[in-house]
């Protein structure tokens, strides 16, 4: 049994859905921020899978480049969110 593009997309979809679930389910906004990197990671996995399995003509590393960029963007957004939430109460 070999993994193909559909398997990769299923895993990516599941990661995005888990991230969306965390973002909507958590009462604490700072904890809900943990859903962001998972959603972005799911998008990156979909890009990397498309680059691996379905890029006949274009540069094959394009999806990998997008995956790296969304990971950095997720870190930046979490840092901003944690910084803003720093005005809340300690627990």
């Amino acid at each position: 049994m070999s993994a193909g593009l559909v398997s990769v997309l299923f895993v990516a979809v599941a990661l995005v859905a888990v991230g969306a679930f965390i973002a909507s389910w958590k009462k604490d906004l700072t904890a809900a921020l943990a859903g962001l990197p998972l959603m972005f990671g799911g998008a990156g996995v979909a890009f990397a899978g498309a680059a691996r399995f379905a890029t006949p003509g274009g540069p094959p590393a394009f999806g990998q480049e997008v995956a790296a960029l969304v990971a950095v963007a997720a870190l930046a957004l979490v840092a901003l969110g944690v910084g803003i939430a720093g005005r809340g109460t300690s627990r």
Binding site: S2, S7, L9, A20, S24, L38, P59, Q64, V78, G88
Partner: protein, 162 residues
């Protein structure tokens, strides 16, 4: 994809999804941070099994940073004032999103191509980042700068308020 990469792909998928679910249900910032780091390790493993080793390394570092931010002692709680019904509706919408995207992935008609890249591809990704798509790299760099400046400003304002 050979059998070794296939096994790595499915194991990494299980680790990343299990870590994500643990982030959703574990109480306390420490265990949640560890679970997020485990999910990041799983996602990095997914990248490696997809011959995207450089992206995997970047994702591993970024997820470790996210986990440290969310598990640090400086963690502060900010409660949402949204009612529980809306949160439940959001969770149901996440399930609906999963169903719709799964259907799209299942019914999609995709091109099959042979992959000629290497296992890590740092050189080709670097060429794309700094030559072909330099504007996108600069945009993400600007986003990081704005986020760090905003976070620093928020922290300084909080410290002044004490």
């Amino acid at each position: 994809m050979d059998s070794l990469h296939t096994i790595g792909f499915y194991v990494s998928a299980a680790v990343s999804l299990g870590g994500g679910l643990l982030v959703a249900f574990l109480p306390g910032r420490g265990p949640r941070g560890i679970a997020l780091a485990a999910a990041g390790a799983g996602i990095a493993g997914l990248y490696v099994s997809l011959s995207a080793g450089f992206s995997g390394l970047v994702a591993l570092v970024c997820f470790a940073g996210c986990a440290l931010l969310l598990a640090a002692p400086t963690y502060r709680v900010m409660d949402i004032t949204v009612a529980g019904a809306w949160r439940q509706l959001g969770a149901l919408a996440a399930g609906g999103l999963l169903s719709v995207l799964c259907f799209a992935a299942w019914r999609g008609d995709f091109v099959h191509a042979t992959f000629y890249g290497g296992a890590i591809n740092s050189a080709s990704v670097g060429r794309l980042l700094f030559a072909h798509d330099a504007l996108a790299t600069e945009a993400v760099g600007a986003l990081v700068l704005v986020a760090l400046v905003g976070a620093t400003a928020a922290w300084r304002q909080r410290d002044r308020g004490r």
